[in-house]
């Protein structure tokens, strides 16, 4: 049971993070849950949804392309030929090609790609990969760090914070370290050589909230 944070946002007891959107969102959800629990009209939920659909913060949408967020190709659209087979991973944010909105409003939208030999992927992984390119949330589900490490010899992804290790060939299952679950998988397909989103993340992105 929470204490002071359950207070409404307008109260003087300060909010945990007045300046940050994500935190406000959480608090709003808390209020909403309480409201819904009390049988309050769904009208409020719709209002909240519109707030949650800020296109820059929205999770990757089907048809989105990607823009490299770091590395030699930073700022460019991700194409399959930019991703060297065998790794290392590349990092990117989704971009809505219609509105040219880059969804970098939340770091939880950061995605990593690894280009692997298709024969090395497990069947379920290959099914959602795009010509050997697998896409995962770049955010470790342990404490939310960016999974930026790469063990070339084993082709494993490593979280630098607490050394959680994931196998990108097999749905990013946890090989070692404290991560409680795999990295959420993002289904991909290629369109004219561009890597695009083919479905929603397989699980909630971000750290454990308990």
């Amino acid at each position: 049971m929470r204490r002071a944070n359950d207070q409404p946002e307008e109260s003087n007891t300060a909010h945990p993070c007045k300046d940050c959107y994500a935190s406000r969102l959480l608090s709003r959800r808390t209020v909403l849950k309480s409201a819904l629990g009390l049988g309050v009209s769904l009208h409020f939920a719709r209002v909240a949804d519109s707030a949650e659909t800020d296109p820059k913060k929205l999770r990757p949408q089907i048809g989105d392309v990607f823009i490299f967020s770091s590395g030699d190709h930073q700022g460019q659209v991700v194409t399959i030929r930019d991703l060297p087979e065998g790794g290392p991973p590349a990092f990117a944010y989704p971009l809505d090609p219609k509105t040219q909105t880059l969804r970098d409003g939340s770091r939880l939208n950061r995605v990593l790609f690894v280009h692997l030999a298709q024969t090395e992927l497990t069947d379920p992984t290959r099914a959602v990969a795009a010509e050997g390119v697998v896409g995962y949330s770049a955010i470790c589900p342990h404490t939310g760090c960016d999974v930026s490490g790469w063990k070339a010899e084993t082709q494993h992804l490593v979280c630098p914070c607490h050394a959680s290790t994931f196998d990108p060939k097999d749905r990013a299952r946890v090989i070692g370290g404290p991560a409680p679950r795999p990295l959420p998988l993002l289904p991909l397909r290629t369109v004219d050589g561009k890597v695009t989103v083919a479905g929603a993340f397989s699980a909630r992105v971000g750290a454990e909230q308990k």
Binding site: M1, R2, R3, A4, N5, D6, Q7, P8, E9, E10, T13, A14, H15, P16, C17, K18, D19, C20, A22, S23, L25, L26, S27, R28, T30, V31, L32, S34, A35, G37, L38, V40, H43, F44, V47, A48, A51, S70, S106, R107, L108, I139, T143, G144, C145, D146, S148, G149, W150, K151, V158, P160, C161, H162, A163, G176, P178, G206, A207, Q209
Partner: protein, 575 residues
């Protein structure tokens, strides 16, 4: 502000508030305000700040539990925190009310004799926060408030009687890599905090706030900016991302009105990426408690290349040596040397430095200035691998040392027989991203042949004589903060076998041990209520202890399971 709240009728809010009532708000223990005077002279029955007293001794004068009867020590009650990861905070006790913190910024107030929960505060952390070090090292007390530095870089004042938030001050933007894990230091009505984020290209600082209002009073950067003294020790723009974090509570000398803080390493790890001495990294800095003015410093080692944070605050001791008695600062460094310094109003003088673990980086130390000379083979560069000892976790990491005025011994929780290797790589700064100049997954931990015999140690040093008195050895590495008492005892956990132990402070002899739920990396404290002396500690393994364990297992080909989950343990003598 958002639309939802505005639309929700007032009556509904009232209804919701019914569902967010405090957990257990029966305040069965009246609360005694903590005054500036009480912080200067805490009653022996209480433990009012991180290390018990401003001199950072970690010493309780209580003497009911002694070397003779400690074998009758037994658990009185426990409390599960419901949280994993590193439980490192000391149970503070103020006239019967105990405060502990856990990772994810939970604060628990308990009846210190019965274990009854008085209140619980749990912070709702931002969804996109990431926690490199999921821990918290405790609260500070002043007046009728409890102060918490949060992992999303806010400073909170809670009502000590109810746990309600009195004020909430943003210290920095967590999205740019700032976070806080230390217990604040309260001096004369000001609450001081330092910032973590040294691995993320922050620029470190210490900041003081009015306890009453949360208003900022002063802020002193640990990396000097243009025009400030010491700025010339940074090249180009490296000062902007120079790190030098502060993540352990400072000490305070009321006579000099100076607070003493240990400072972290400069960033990135690779020295060649920031040529110069890099003041005030790897130093002790003396800040005026009223103004924050940096009055003095001593840099233990310059242009660090080994991730050797020197964040532990020095202990303030009076040292008597033949022909010389002086007010000292004593620091067992992550760099493996035991530093003895003299503190004065306007300067810090070097006295001497002695290695307490095997160290192969310093080739000599200037007897006047204390400045070390390095073996260049031990300095990693871009694409250049270098091995060095001790390891990146150092001879002694953050777990605090202790001093017992009865024995005159300083006790050091040390790690021996471990070295490391680093290899630098080009890195571009990106706000909120790791900026260490090293592939994190390639930080090597290299046990020496002797590590099969033992790694962890508790060392006792006779400070007046300048000699080591004895060493306790553990097969496991040691992450155990130390408590020493008037009963002639030392208490500590820290090993991967989950034990919490008591030793004879004179001889180091093991007198008692209790296996706990998890590994004990919490700071133990002692207090007395109704004539009963208690010893309290949190057991909850995680953070760097866990990470180091994984690397050790890899090196040894072993698999060690240390379960997680925090539990507070409270012990007293069996009747």
């Amino acid at each position: 502000m958002n639309q939802v709240i505005r639309l929700v009728p007032f009556a509904l809010m009232a209804l919701i508030s019914l569902f967010s009532n405090p957990v257990a708000a029966q305040n069965t223990v009246p609360y005694t305000p903590v005054t500036a005077e009480r912080l200067l002279h805490p009653e022996p029955d209480n433990w009012l700040m991180y290390r018990g007293t401003y001199n950072s001794w970690g010493y309780s004068p209580l003497d009911q539990i002694t070397t003779k009867n400690v074998d009758k020590l037994t658990p009185m009650w426990t409390f599960s925190t419901g949280v994993n990861e590193g439980h490192q905070s000391p149970p503070l006790v103020n006239n019967g009310v105990m405060f502990i913190t856990t990772p994810k910024n939970q604060v628990l107030a308990l009846n210190a004799s019965t274990g009854e929960l008085l209140w619980r505060y749990q912070r709702e952390l931002p969804e996109d926060l990431f926690q490199l070090h999921p821990t918290n090292r405790g609260v500070a007390l002043y007046g009728d408030k409890v102060f918490l530095a949060t992992v999303d870089a806010h400073l909170l004042a809670l009502n000590a009687k109810t746990g309600e938030v009195v004020w909430d001050q943003t210290v920095e933007n967590y999205l740019t890599g700032y976070y806080m894990t230390l217990a604040p230091l309260v001096v004369r009505g000001k609450v001081m905090v330092g910032v973590s984020g040294g691995e993320l290209g922050i620029r470190g600082f210490v900041q003081a706030f009015e306890a009453e209002t949360g208003k900022s009073v002063w802020k002193t950067y640990t990396v000097p900016g243009p025009g400030e003294k010491g700025h010339e020790t940074w090249s180009g723009d490296t000062w902007k991302t120079g790190a030098v974090s502060i993540w352990v509570t400072g000490s305070y000398d009321p006579q000099l009105n100076l607070t003493y803080w240990g400072t972290g390493n400069p960033g990135p790890f690779i020295a060649a990426m920031r040529p110069g001495d890099n003041l005030y990294a790897n130093s002790v800095i003396a800040l005026d408690a009223d103004t924050g003015e940096l009055k003095a410093h001593h840099q233990y080692h310059w242009n660090d290349a080994w991730d050797w944070d020197e964040v532990s605050a020095p202990l303030l001791l009076d040292v008597q040596r033949p022909g010389k008695s002086f007010k000292a600062l004593v620091h067992a460094g992550r760099n493996g040397y035991l530093w003895l310094l003299e503190r004065k109003a306007d300067k810090i003088d070097f006295v001497n430095a002695t290695p307490f673990v095997r160290q192969n980086v310093f080739t000599k130390i200037d007897p006047e200035s204390g400045r070390p000379t390095y073996d260049p083979q031990r300095i990693a560069g871009i694409g250049k691998r270098a091995e060095f000892c001790p390891s990146v976790w150092g001879g002694k990491d953050w777990p605090p040392a202790a001093y017992n005025p009865q024995t005159g011994y300083l006790y050091i929780p040390a790690n021996q027989n471990l070295c490391s290797a680093l290899t630098g790589q080009e890195t571009t700064y990106q706000p909120g991203q790791l900026y260490i100049g090293v592939d994190f997954s390639k930080i090597e931990l290299l046990p020496t042949a002797e590590a099969k015999d033992h790694i962890g140690e508790i060392q006792a040093w006779d400070i007046n004589a300048g000699k080591k008195a004895w060493t306790v050895k553990f097969k496991s590495h040691n992450w155990g903060p130390l408590l020493t008492t008037g009963g002639g005892l030392i208490f500590s956990g820290g090993t991967n076998d989950r034990y919490f132990r008591a030793f004879d402070a004179k001889t180091g002899k093991l007198l008692w041990q209790q296996r706990t739920n998890s590994g004990v990396t919490g700071v133990p404290t002692s207090y007395r209520i109704d004539g009963i002396q208690y010893v309290a500690v949190q057991s909850g393994w995680g953070v760097d202890a866990q990470r180091k364990q994984e690397l050790l297992d890899k090196a040894f080909g072993t698999k060690t399971f240390v379960p997680q989950g925090g539990v507070l343990w409270v012990f007293a003598l069996r009747k």
